[in-house]
């Protein structure tokens, strides 16, 4: 069943009098539980595509359905609600609210969703344990390393068990070892919780991890490759990177 369905999506930007075509009629379907990477060079339109899927931007033309909801006609408030309840976000860096601890950052989403305190605390603590930050729950972002911060961001993105997690170049500011650990974690969560992950990246390592690799150039999809043995490959890489984490 498709979680993302895109038909002839166009996005144009006005750039100093010149209209820039960021997306030129993209058609794409992403099934639930996929671990997909959108790859391409800078300016290829991958972040634009991710932003449109996340309801952070409005398309110029085309249809966009996410988690059964057609985004084109949704108000800002409805889009905000959809982001809160259906989508988890992971950004490149400086992702977290600096005045909140790791636990509070994760709890924040549940709090916005109106989950009661005891339940919030239980789920947030549990998810932080899952991402390997049991000892860091009371630390603020500045007291965490870049990799740990991204793990908190992952925990925050999945704590409410959204149907879809959008990750915009999540490993861009991490070294290879830390980035690999983070991908292991997300891949594991993808498998265990059947959460759909959609990355934008130009990182070779992310492309290797992805079960499906969509290449975008100049706002158009030029290839869409599904790797048959990707899950096995992911498992293999996961065990390898866990060793190297230490």
């Amino acid at each position: 069943m498709a979680i993302i369905s895109i038909n002839n999506l166009v996005k144009n930007y006005d750039g100093e009098g010149l209209e820039v075509q960021a997306l030129r009629g993209v058609d794409l379907t992403v099934e639930r539980g996929e671990f997909t990477a959108i790859a391409g060079p800078s300016g290829s339109g991958k972040t634009t595509l991710l932003n449109l899927i996340g309801g952070l931007d409005q398309p110029t033309a085309g249809n966009l359905t996410v988690a059964g909801k057609e985004l084109n006609n949704m108000s800002a408030r409805e889009l905000s609600d959809m982001r809160l309840h259906n989508i988890g976000f992971i950004f490149q860096a400086y992702n977290l609210i600096p005045v909140l601890t790791a636990l509070e950052n994760v709890e924040y989403i549940l709090l916005l969703q109106g989950v009661d305190k005891a339940e919030r605390r239980r789920r947030s603590t549990e998810i932080l344990k899952e991402v390997g930050l049991a000892k860091e729950i009371n630390r603020r972002p500045k007291e965490l390393s870049g990799g740990q911060q991204q793990r908190v961001a992952v925990a925050r993105a999945i704590v409410s068990e959204p149907e879809l997690v959008l990750a915009d170049e999540p490993t861009a500011n991490l070294d290879q070892k830390t980035g690999s650990g983070l991908l292991d974690l997300m891949h594991d969560l993808n498998h265990r919780k059947n959460i759909t992950f959609l990355f934008s990246t130009h990182d070779r390592m992310v492309m290797d991890y992805a079960e499906r690799l969509i290449r975008l150039t100049d706002g158009s999809i030029i290839s869409d490759e599904r790797k048959k043995s990707s899950r096995e490959s992911g498992e293999r890489k996961k065990s390898g990177s866990r060793k190297s984490k230490k």
Binding site: L56, R83, L84, H85, F89, F91, L96, I97, I109, L112
Partner: protein, 418 residues
């Protein structure tokens, strides 16, 4: 409580954001504190000074309430007099009212006073020497070598120091007084100076003569008539109530019953003007503190553009952003105001105990008809609450603009900022 619970996350985030940049927050707090404390202190000084000036004026001669025949205050003539016996309900009220401390009958007349070749226009005020001492403190200003009037005094007067100096007379000298009697007859008498007073009020010291009322009844052929009844109250604050009660009596129709605020309009006018300038000054101070808050909140929002963008991206609603940012200004303004109240009240209390004393410059101040030379600060609940409220309100109101701007951020553009 429900509302607080609902917005607990915004409140918590706001509190932590406030302390994220401690130095800036402390500087803003200091700005609000200083502004609020200055306003409280200046207002306390004003309130204390006004009260002291009014009290001094009341105590010198004005009294809290005066009762005259209608038209007296405008004409200040001996022709406007009334017989107290014809107003039994008013006299009875004055005797029975628990708010009334004392009353004193007075006769006022204009006249000329001469000694040798010197002649001056004077205001003659005839008083009951015993009752008058309960009303006015003028008897305390009689200079050494002289004395105040007694009920048995006849053909005796006391006069202001400046007048005595101008006439070139001293205690024990005899002067001639010429005036008009109540019946239109010529009134004249040679009187002895029993004492010379110095009230520091130039109007009194230059032109006022006091004589016993028994003598004045004779000299001015007053019969049972008096120019006024001066009323002293136990508490100045009771004036309006007592005045209204007196005005409510049917017998008051032919009389003018005036409170101190109507008897010393020039002082009240000066106070009103001073208050007006004070309000302008306070308004500017409040604006400065509010701009301090605005700057802090604006900077704080600007610095957190990316953070706010991420918060909005993950589902924080614009209204929650507005509440969070405004809560920051609520915390800063509240803390600043509380500190301001503490400091302002502390300083005001110190100057209540140790008033500003300009006695050294008494002579210079007399030139400007300034009788009061000691100015205590007076802290009132109205001063503290109104100052605190407006300082707080201005701080919060000035944060609406940055809060709205934060809520209107485009999450996509915001998260691109570093």
């Amino acid at each position: 409580m429900k509302l607080m619970k609902k917005h607990s996350i915004e409140a918590m985030l706001a509190w932590r954001n406030v302390w994220k940049n401690k130095r800036r927050t402390i500087l803003t707090l200091l700005t609000i504190m200083v502004g609020c404390a200055m306003i409280i202190f200046f207002r306390a000084t004003q309130d204390g000074s006004y009260e002291k000036m009014i009290d001094d004026s009341i105590a010198a001669n004005t009294s809290h309430i005066q009762i005259h025949e209608k038209g007296f205050q405008e004409n200040m003539s001996i022709d406007y007099a009334f017989a107290p016996d014809e107003y039994p309900s008013i006299i009875s009220f004055l005797q029975k009212s628990p708010a009334v401390l004392a009353t004193s009958k007075r006769i006022h007349a204009g006249g000329l006073i001469s000694h040798g070749n010197n002649t001056f226009v004077v205001l003659i005020q005839a008083v009951d020497p015993v009752q008058e001492q309960k009303i006015s403190n003028l008897h305390t200003t009689v200079q050494p070598g002289g004395r105040y009037l007694t009920p048995d005094d006849r053909k005796k007067i006391i006069m202001g120091a400046t007048l005595a100096k101008n006439l070139n007379v001293t205690t024990g000298d005899t002067v001639s007084m010429i005036s008009q009697g109540f019946d239109g007859s010529f009134a004249a008498a040679n009187v002895e100076i029993a004492g010379i007073f110095r009230t520091r009020n130039p109007r009194y010291d230059q032109a006022m003569v006091l004589m016993p009322i028994a003598q004045a009844i004779e000299t001015f052929t007053m019969g049972d008539y008096v120019s006024s009844i001066a009323v002293s109250l136990k508490h100045t604050s009771d004036m309006e109530t007592v005045r209204d009660q007196l005005r409510g009596l049917p017998e008051s129709k032919g009389l003018e019953i005036m409170g101190w605020d109507e008897l010393i309009p020039e002082l009240i006018q000066a106070i009103v003007m001073d208050k007006l300038f004070g309000y302008i000054f306070y308004f500017i101070l409040i604006l400065i503190t509010a701009f301090g808050v605005l700057n802090t909140i604006q900077m704080s929002v600007f610095e957190r553009t990316r953070e706010l963008g991420i918060m909005m991206s993950i589902g924080t609603k614009p209204s929650q952003i507005v509440i969070m940012v405004m809560m920051e200004s609520v915390y800063i303004s509240l803390l600043g105001v509380l500190l301001g109240i503490l400091i302002g009240s502390g300083i005001s209390y110190y100057f209540f105990l140790h008033p500003f004393d300009f006695s050294e410059y008494q002579k210079e101040m007399e030139v400007f008809a300034q009788v009061t030379t000691v100015f205590p600060a007076k802290l009132t609940l109205n001063n503290v609450s109104v100052t605190a409220f407006f300082t707080f309100l201005a701080g919060v109101l000035f944060s609406i603009a940055p809060a709205r701007r934060a809520a209107k951020l485009n999450p996509l553009k915001a998260i691109r900022q570093l």
